[in-house]
């Protein structure tokens, strides 16, 4: 049995990605240049982080709609602790992550204890988190952040933008969790058949709680990156980000019915979204048409995936 990060079913997505890149490379000479690739990867990083988080959730058969708002809260929280000459940079980072984890825990507890569908619970959390972000910041952007904090989203190490390093690091960690740990195995089991998972002695509630917390933390990482990159904690940031993240996961082959999906697929899904929006920007296509293109791609990806799965 050979171990590959990308399973056979995902070659379709990989091929689609390569074709899109080739077409764009011919259409715009700027596309395949190193600076542009750096831009694409930096832009993709936030969506990919959120998409990794929501992939865990979707694999267990759940969904999280609160990502965009949780991103804003954790960004605002981080920003309020990131003013120059107050705390060392680790403090705003930890506070932001804690905020994300707290919302994940909140989602997880309500979903496992109340049996209310995740769609509804996280729809509520989406509004609650947005409200808290606005309350916390009194509706104003939180600016004047320290240089060390701004390095997270804007800095480079050996010419590589720091967000790209975080992206690669997060991808490796998430892939390991999903493929190599007991947690990951249980996630697939719960999404595949929750009752059978329970009958096999799995603590279903604990694992579900865990995936929402993981999702919250990854979202917070995204929130910290964004806040640092725009050097402001924006309470209105991240609106609609949850949909981009879910789209990336779905394009990457994650099944909304649960039990199926990989981090490599989700990363490819996020890259496809990023490459297309970048390419269309380069070609001066209006953002209206970009939205249209994105919708078509999501549906096409799922249609292809489901026709492939037919016997």
């Amino acid at each position: 049995m050979k171990k590959t990060a990308i399973k056979p079913g995902q070659y379709g997505i990989l091929i689609a990605f390569i074709i899109i890149c080739i077409v764009l490379a011919f259409a715009s000479p700027k596309f395949l240049t190193l600076p542009n690739i750096r831009i694409i990867l930096t832009q993709v990083s936030i969506n990919a982080l959120l998409a990794f988080g929501v992939t865990f959730v979707i694999i267990t058969g759940g969904i999280d709609l609160s990502l965009g708002s949780v991103l804003a809260v954790s960004g605002v929280v981080a920003a309020t602790f990131a003013h120059p000459d107050t705390y060392p940079v680790i403090v705003p980072v930890c506070m932001g992550l804690l905020a994300g984890a707290a919302f994940g825990l909140f989602n997880g507890v309500i979903i496992t204890k109340s049996k209310v569908p995740p769609f509804i619970v996280t729809l509520g959390t989406m509004t609650i988190a947005r409200g808290l972000a606005l309350i916390f910041s009194k509706g104003r952007p939180v600016s004047n952040l320290s240089d060390s904090f701004n390095f997270i989203g804007g800095g480079q190490i050996a010419g590589i933008p720091f967000p790209i390093i975080i992206l690669i690091f997060a991808f490796i960690i998430c892939s390991l969790i999903l493929n190599k740990t007991v947690w990951g195995r249980y996630m697939y089991a719960i999404g595949g058949n929750e009752l059978a998972a329970k009958a096999s002695g799995i603590n279903v509630g604990k694992i579900k709680m865990l995936v929402y917390i993981l999702c919250g933390v990854l979202t917070a990482v995204g929130g910290i990156l964004l806040t640092s990159r725009i050097t402001t904690g924006q309470p209105n940031a991240g609106q609609g980000f949850e949909l981009d993240a879910i789209a990336a996961a779905i394009i990457g082959g994650t099944s909304t019915a649960g039990g199926k999906g990989t981090m490599a697929g989700t990363l490819l899904g996020a890259l496809i979204i990023g490459v297309i929006s970048n390419g269309l920007d380069l070609l001066n296509v209006s953002s209206y048409y970009q939205q249209l293109a994105m919708g078509v791609i999501i549906i096409a990806a799922v249609v292809l995936d489901s026709s492939k799965n037919k016997p």
């Binding site: 190599k180 697939y188 329970k198 002695g201």
Partner: protein
């Protein structure tokens, strides 16, 4: 000689390299119940699917009333008069029986775009009466029992003027009393000249209802005979291809000391005051009608649905079982009667399923030791003789018998002291059945205690040391093997009788 309805000649079908049907011939007459027998993988389902128009054969001819069928499309076959009753009910639960019968044909019944429910139900009532069913066409499907739903499905086939009805294991999930009703309906259809192709693993049923029996093995046609010319042993030998000397292997060891003590075990509305001991190396059979509460008792012993009162002691230690996790940790394993929704996660691989209840032993600090896991699963899989293309094959691609072995393997890998088997041979072919029986004997020789819940009395009698009978949630008897016969068990299992005589 009654006239032929369906004639099949030299039918062959391959999937890739694999020849699943090799020159099969088959003949069905008017008013005949023709049983199709064979182990899983013999080619029965492929044959049925071709007849129902779901698959196209590579070679061969099918004639219905002398007319060749060459368009392989489910709708065309249905129109031509071949109907298939699937193992799983394919009906819309929130519509009425009548609405289901005429689903897709509302327009021709009502005569206009607007659905005339009254007319539809009246027509459906006619059909239900014709087929000898006492069901009101206005009843919602979800309010019917499984058997009734199945019979409505048969009525639907009749409403299409089906001349050939294929029934794929129609009794796999219904109670004995309902089987009688179904057989009544089948006899009624026979009189009307309908030909029935009947598939079942239950031998006694086959001999009761079938006129003719055709056996397939490994895609080959083995033979066709009148049912009254065949006996049980000959039929089994034909199906398996070798002689199975004794279906129920002898126990090599005697039961030892008490392992599990259950006292005054109750869950209101489900079961009441159940008390029994299970000894090391013992098989305790649990008999009773479907719905008597046998599975509920098992689920409570396994922590899926904790009992309200009573005690469980294992090796003299009092157990508090609130979840299956607790039960597995204490050494109790449960193989569910419902493989697809409780026993297995069919989308996952053999490996992922088998290690699920014992992943703790293959991991450290949360990391799975992949090599160790793979080795253990490969070993267990070989031990249980699971036929697959490898342990990463998804469970959904396996036959019923092999799926059951995966479910068994999962439970055994957790190394339980008490193994509860709930209908372990349901939907399993005779070869795999025999292997499961041998496995039970192996477990008892290792000193494990086995609780065997089964609706097949020969199985209970063939394997158990003692037999507990449950009727309407109450324990009506606890018999040593030598005092039990099918008749005695049935007497205790029938509700409303003998409650006064319990000692």
């Amino acid at each position: 000689m009654p006239s032929t309805i369906l004639q099949v000649k030299n039918l062959s079908k391959s999937f890739g390299e694999n020849k699943v049907l090799n020159a099969i011939s088959f003949l069905l007459r008017k008013g005949e119940v023709h049983a199709l027998m064979g182990e899983n993988g013999a080619g029965k389902s492929t044959f049925m699917k071709i007849l129902a128009g779901l698959l196209q054969p590579d070679e061969g001819d099918i004639e219905l009333n002398g007319q060749p069928l060459n368009k392989f499309d489910p709708l065309a076959h249905q129109k031509a008069g071949i109907a298939m009753i699937h193992q799983e009910i394919m009906m819309v639960p929130n519509l009425t029986a009548g609405q289901n019968i005429f689903l897709g044909r509302e327009k021709e019944i009502s005569g206009s775009f607007w659905v005339n429910n009254e007319k539809l139900h009246r027509k459906a009532d006619d059909i239900l009466k014709q087929t000898g069913l006492h069901i009101n066409a206005g009843t919602k499907m979800q309010d019917l029992s499984l058997a009734e739903m199945q019979m409505v499905e048969i009525a639907k086939a009749v409403s299409y003027d089906a001349q050939v009805i294929i029934m794929d294991e129609p009794t796999s999930a219904i109670s004995d009393r309902e089987v009688e009703k179904l057989f009544g309906m089948i006899r009624n259809l026979k009189e009307k000249g309908v030909g029935i192709i009947y598939i079942s693993h239950k031998m006694d049923e086959i001999f009761r209802i079938a006129d003719t029996i055709t056996v397939l093995r490994d895609g080959q046609y083995i033979g066709t005979d009148a049912a009254d010319k065949l006996d049980y042993d000959t039929l089994v030998t034909r199906m398996v291809g070798r002689k199975i000397e004794t279906l129920y292997p002898e126990a090599g060891t005697q039961p030892g000391e008490v392992l599990l003590q259950v006292r005054d075990f109750s869950l209101p509305g489900k079961f009441d005051n159940i008390s029994f001991d299970l000894h090391k190396g013992e098989v305790l059979g649990v008999a009773g009608l479907m719905g008597a509460g046998r599975t509920e008792i098992a689920l409570s012993l396994y922590g899926m649905q904790p009992a309200a009162s009573g005690t469980i002691r294992l090796n003299d230690k009092m157990l508090q079982l609130k979840t299956p996790r607790d039960a597995i940790r204490e050494g109790i394993g449960y193989v569910s009667e419902d493989r697809k929704s409780v026993g297995l996660i069919t989308s996952l691989s053999i490996r992922q399923n088998m290690s699920l209840a014992s992943l703790g032993t293959f991991s450290g600090n949360g990391w799975i030791r992949q090599q160790e896991e793979r080795k253990a699963i490969e070993q267990k899989s070989a031990e249980l003789q699971i036929k697959s293309s490898g342990i990463s094959q998804p469970v959904s691609a396996l036959s019923g018998g092999n799926q059951q072995k995966v479910a068994l393997g999962k439970v055994l890998l957790a190394n339980p002291e008490v193994v509860i088997l709930d209908e372990p041979t349901r939907g399993v072919d005779i070869g795999a059945k025999f292997e499961i029986y041998k496995l039970i004997r192996q477990l008892t020789s290792e000193g494990k205690g086995v609780i065997l819940i089964s609706s097949e009395l020969p199985e209970i009698l063939g394997l158990s040391n003692r037999i507990m009978v449950i009727a309407e949630g109450k324990q009506t008897a606890l018999l040593p093997r030598n005092e039990a016969t099918q008749e005695i068990i049935m007497k205790y299992a029938t509700p409303g009788q003998l409650h006064a005589q319990i000692t």
